[in-house]
Symmetry: C2
Subunit: 353 residues, 2 copies
């Protein structure tokens, strides 16, 4: 066991505070990682606040982890000390079901092991995430960060990035695709950049006219205001693919109308019951509504490699770990363009009582 400095919460709705956590001794197929950067995800705040009723405390969040290898177990073959590596939303899965066999570990039939607030498959111990100096992770769940990818910006690819990359790839978005992205937050801004890099013509759909310039700066060819009924009507049947990043219950019918024949709208945010969908909107143009959950290890590696090759990087604001509580507040007020990343050097400099 190794003791690490970390930031976490001991109870719901309390500030994150500095603490010590234990990391397990290396198993044969484990990799020990010194964390250099960790992105801040909305779900970190949900977990800390126990919004989903499933949080076990102390909760050390963080699943957009970037660092370098400091030690490896004797059976590790894919990583060596000094390698630039990354860890996303999961640190283990059964490795013995069709989804794991197909590289869709996020859909493991026995359930994935979450990077934090999960249960170690061997010991049942609570997992702790990336708001810490270090982490120990099963080799298979450790990704390579290509040399051409700036470590500072790699973190948000591990959750925000892969969440939008998986459906873009599954639905064949590429040159000539007409794509719309609903919402311009952490996920939405990555979706715009990635779809543009894949060759698509991208429109941002937003409620706020004030986001038009930002959308175009990210590469969007057009902006559609969802509160403008005439503009929405004029865009009927226009898109092949719509990525819907709205994180709460909403009415998808006005967006479904924008899909052309065989078009697909993919939900990545809303987990609640949606407002009633009109069956006719699906039947009339063979439209679909689908969902997507993060992505598997092969797709995540593909994303990191793609972003290195095409120089696609999230827009990040770097924060000191000591400012994490105000960063949470700003994130929840949508006051960030578009993702906070903790520079973990600031944790190393912090004395933990």
């Amino acid at each position: 066991m190794t003791t690490c400095k970390a930031y976490g919460a001991c109870e719901a709705h309390a500030d994150l505070t500095p603490m010590h956590i234990e990391r397990r001794a290396l198993r044969a197929d484990d990799v020990a990682i010194a964390i250099d950067y960790c992105g801040i995800c909305h779900s970190d705040a949900h977990a800390v606040n126990n919004d989903w009723g499933s949080t076990v405390y102390p909760c050390v969040p963080g699943h957009e982890i970037v660092g370098h290898v400091t030690a490896v177990g004797p059976q590790v073959t894919r990583h060596k000390v000094g390698d630039r590596v990354a860890v996303g939303c999961m640190v283990d899965s059964c490795q013995d079901c069709p989804s794991c066999d197909d590289g869709h570990e996020q859909n493991c039939s026995k359930g994935l092991t979450a990077t934090y607030n999960g249960k170690d498959r061997h010991t049942g111990a609570l997992t702790h995430g990336g708001y810490s100096e270090g982490i120990v992770v099963r080799e298979k769940f450790v990704l390579r960060v290509p040399d051409a990818l700036d470590m500072k910006f790699a973190g948000p690819l591990l959750c925000a990035g892969i969440t939008v990359w998986t459906p873009l790839r599954r639905h064949g978005v590429g040159k000539g695709s007409k794509v719309a992205v609903i919402g311009l937050g952490g996920l939405g801004h990555m979706a715009v950049k990635l779809a543009v890099a894949l060759g698509a013509e991208v429109t941002v759909i937003t409620t706020s006219a004030g986001k038009a310039d930002d959308a175009r700066a990210l590469g969007a060819a057009d902006v559609l205001l969802s509160k403008d009924p005439k503009a929405m009507q004029a865009a009927a049947n226009r898109f092949d693919f719509i990525l819907d990043t709205i994180p709460t219950k909403h009415n998808v019918n006005p967006y479904l109308m924008l899909l052309g024949r065989d078009g697909v709208l993919v939900l990545v945010g809303a987990l609640e019951p949606l407002e009633p969908i009109h069956g006719a909107l699906l039947v009339m143009n063979n439209r679909s509504i689908s969902g997507s959950l993060i992505g598997g290890l092969p797709a995540t590696q593909e994303l990191l490699d793609f972003c290195a090759e095409h120089n696609v990087l999230p827009n990040c604001e770097m924060v000191d770990v000591r400012d994490i509580n105000s960063a949470f507040q700003r994130m929840q007020a949508n006051d960030v363009k578009y993702r906070f990343v903790i520079d973990m050097a600031s944790l190393r400099e912090t004395a933990v009582g």
Copy 2:
């Protein structure tokens, strides 16, 4: 112009009565067809009763038309006098949009011309359907009935059959696919037969245990009672593809749960707003809900050829045209296994007005 005997309704909620209708003189690319058989579809009753508020009277329904060619216009090349032919739900489209170019005329961007209660694209005249001696149809919308296909049974393929064939083909149902069909009516029974013929393992989902024997007789490997919560729970994540033929508003969440990773549920019946769908059910297994509307001309010809080759035929009850009103009543009471077909010889023997 030619005068034909027909059965139709002159006002909503009135019995169908014998009448005379006019068929247009042949245009250069027209085919004149003597109708031998016509299937009775639920939408015929909806149209006659003006359930959708769009019926123009007199309404002569019928869009599952089978007959033989009696005359052709001078530019017709694909059909000749005596040919066995069929006409489905549409008799024209713009032929100048991406959907028409791709053989998805049902999604014509300018709107298809319906076989009945439609408007002729040249004259604006009301179209009349197949409950009649004859019909005149643009060559392109006239399908071939293969010699190996019994004319008596071909009619229901033109609407019930193609409605389920299109999504089965679009979603790649084939050998090894795990398919469920919800509802065992005209559409459902065709879906079972076609999916079995494509090589799928088919389960019928029904509310009534009494349908189990019928489902197995049609080729279903299993029957799942939707009112049995334990059986539904045990079937979680089991299917690749679910065809949902329920014709009215319903709760799809219990069925979505039955889909495995990347599974798709396709609506072909319900056109109303559905009960609220849980976003999480879509996100968690990358599930989709989609819709589908009849099918294009190439797919319909493919279906007729497939049914001839594999001897897949709808189960039909032949009726005399003079019994049409009682057939409508029985159909609306679900008292038919599984589709009525009018033997049009009975109309030829009938004196009209």
